[in-house]
Amino acid sequence: MEQYKLFINGEFVDADSGKTFETIDPGTEAPIATVAQAGKADAEKAIAAARKAFDRGDWSGLTPAARAAKVQDFADQITRQGLRLAFTESMNSGQVISLARFMPLISVTLLRNLSLAAVTKFPWEEEIPVSGNAFAPGREFIRREPVGVCVGISPWNYPMYIACWKIAPALLMGNTMVLKPASYTPLTALIVAEAAKAAGIPDGVFNVIAGPGRELGEILCTHPDVDKIAFTGSTEVGREIMRMAAGTIKKVTLELGGKSANIILDDADMELAVEGALFSNFFHQGQVCSSGSRVLVSSKIHDEFLDKMIKRAESIRIGYQMDQTSHMGPLVSKQQLATVERYVKLGKEEGAELITGGKRVEVKGIKGGFYYAPTIFANVNNKMRIAQEEIFGPVLCIIKYDSDEEAIAIANDSVYGLAGGVFSTNTARAERIARGVRTGTMWINNYHIFSDYCPFGGYKQSGVGREFGLESLREYTQIKRIHVSAIADHKSNMTFQIMSDYKKVDGFSYNCPTNVVAGHGALSSIYKAVADLGCRRALILTDSGVNKAGLAQLVKDALVDFCVGIYDNISPDPDLETVDVANAVARELKADCIVSVGGGSVIDTAKGVCVTLKNGGKINDYLNFLVLTEPQTPHIAIPTTAGTGSEVTNIAVLTSKGGGRKLFIIDTRIMPNVAILDPRFTMTLPKDLTVTTAMDAMTHAIEAMMSTLANQICDGLALHAIRLINENLPLVVADGSNEKARLSMQLAATMAGWAFTIAQVGLAHGMAHTIGTLHHVPHGVACGIVLPKVMRYNVDHAADKLALVAQALGINTAGMKEHDVALAAADAVESLMKKVGHPMRLRDVGVPEENLAICAFHAIADTAVIFNGRPVSDPNEVLQIYRQAY
């Protein structure tokens, strides 16, 4: 009789105790080999060898390609042992030889296919272009790394193949392994170990210990050096393994029991369905976890199906497994035979109708063996134990149903969810049913089809995780995220500053890619700009006022035949629906470029349309920071006000009814491609709008300077914007046709826009957004009223910047203290506002005093407040500012 030893650290060794056990041929009950019986000491040696091998790095540290090459050598060695493996598998497990002869082949194929996948398809490293954290820029990527020491516990029904389900992904992913084959069928796993040694798999990377599950299971599943357990076996043992693994938080993959439904529809091809039901149940004597042991048959074809099933089942040849003419061999053990007999008895007691089989079979010329006849129960109720519990033998339960819905309900009435089948000539109907059944695998017009690239595993109590395919490779890795900060300076790290008194952010990124074309007649550049962008179908977005003023028509004429339409239904303070409706128009017209002609509302709407036109969906999907990864639909902005600066900024402000406030898209990708600053487009702007939009620009500039993100580029842009506004706003108020002053105001707004694109805004904007949303106060008006009050509030945190602002506003600061100069800046803003007729108090623009408190609570939650030069956390302070502005 052959003798097999344990395989530990690259050597075949006896058990530490010297114990052995016999393994038998279930077809004859004759012993065929003795095997060293591992105990606790051997398990610990195997784990130690695997741990040492993993930590040594001569396997885990190889490149995926180098490991795959070794696994291919391993596959070659298995191929060399193919004949021996097939015979041993058949003799030890009871698989008929017509099945067992494929086991080496499909095991090798699995190793080779997963090797290829590991090298060519597996995402070892993945870039994360959008981190989802706008405050901490940096390169983000993930690496998939091996888990460590993996324990594989394989069952007796497919001893070699299921062992390879675990060996292949574990080794390919860089892990080391201790494999414990089932005690009924340990032989082929130990032959596979010979192949591993012959292939030069490094010592300790792959270890095989045979022995009792109860004793070895406990040490394998609780040892602190084991990182992962992959188990195929019973739900009861799996549950215990999960509990044991919890002690040291091991990763667990469990492929457990099943009681799968094979659904025969009334339109099924009868012969195919009969063969399918037969194969799904009696293949390998029913000892398959995915067996379709509940055959659900439409009442319309039940009787005919049953007749054919009986005839076909009774034609199955049962014989010794090594006989090539045998369809079915023996069960694996006398215990399994007893279990099957117990269930058949139970089925009869429960009232099911035994219509064929239900008895042991004696094979001619053989004494002994665990043979059992193909058995069919009819009139089975799904509540019966024979329909609820896995039998793992050649016992088929036929359950009648009346409708597709009932079939799905019956199929789902199980604690298991491993597999299932549908037989039908209508693929759409079959797939609808397959989608409704809660299992990990559904076969349509086929059964028991396993494929190396297709995941296999269970829903519900059938398991956790997946075998096969890329999914199985993932199961044997863990994910490491690596963040490499784009700015390595603690004074530029907004997150660290939560625990610091230093609230400024010193580092910055300047990215303002908009091509600005400015000056009288600048509109003419649009024709070339559209062509340069590779577009031919520009849609003009505007508002009705601008359209009526003839400005949109000017643009249309300048576009010649590149214009596909003018859409002017954009209201002030646009909401999300406004964007979605405009996007629908753009999509209908097949626009490939958006030209916005208007103020901030129109340009921000256009930014939203560019995003949804490019990416699909609704604009609500994109209300976030820095989530876009590609250029958006080209956008040319032609501002008709000198205020928002939206023609060059990275922000779109949109009202969210759901959110109850203005929300933002902030993203470099939404900056318009081209901004055309043609003063003719602001010449007709009424005086009041000229003033209030200018104060919006002024607020951008001053808040950018006070921001925690302020920097010298921002300051330079902002200061010049402030100077231009201070000098030119009175001129355009006095004479709206002063084209030179109008252009200067446009340039000021653009520069202020750039300034706050780099540095953001602050509390004044948070407060203005709030009263704009709650009380419909125009944004520029609201900004202007609260700006001087916020400047005073910030004075101790931005005195240096405000002193520069004061100078830009023309104040002679000679001899003044910085603090006083800063306060003078606020006074100067108010003086300018009075001079140009800007509203000065909230009460004058319809804000009720009793609502100020609630406004304060909303304002403090506005995103802009995050960047205010003075930290804002007390709503009472904000309320005081509102009261000052009231």
Binding site: S234, E236, E240, R243, C289, Q335, T339, K383, Q461
Partner: protein, 122 residues
Amino acid sequence: MKRRWKINPIVKLGPGVSQAIRSFLADKGIQQSIRIDLYFSGCCDSSLYLCVDTIFETDLTLELDGLTFVINPEIYQVVGEVTISYVDEMGRKGFVLTSSKPVGEWDGFGVSDIKIQPNLYV
């Protein structure tokens, strides 16, 4: 006719087992025998378990600690003497059944509750 076991001991009870079974029966308000039975616990493993059940004529029965245990004789022939333990430690709570002729290599690895045999199927 009930067949009494002649050989002792057929069933061994560990500490706390009788009390745990009595508590279970009292909690459910039932007074029936406890069957030691064989079931398939999924993909490749059979197990022994306990269930509340009626006694069949062919069953072997044993009175122990005021409880009646029954087992199908064919199953007894396969599994031999059964030892029942009760554990309640570190999240592991229930009955552990082992037999002199183990039903599988994982014999006694898992724990189980007492099931109640459903009697009526329509």
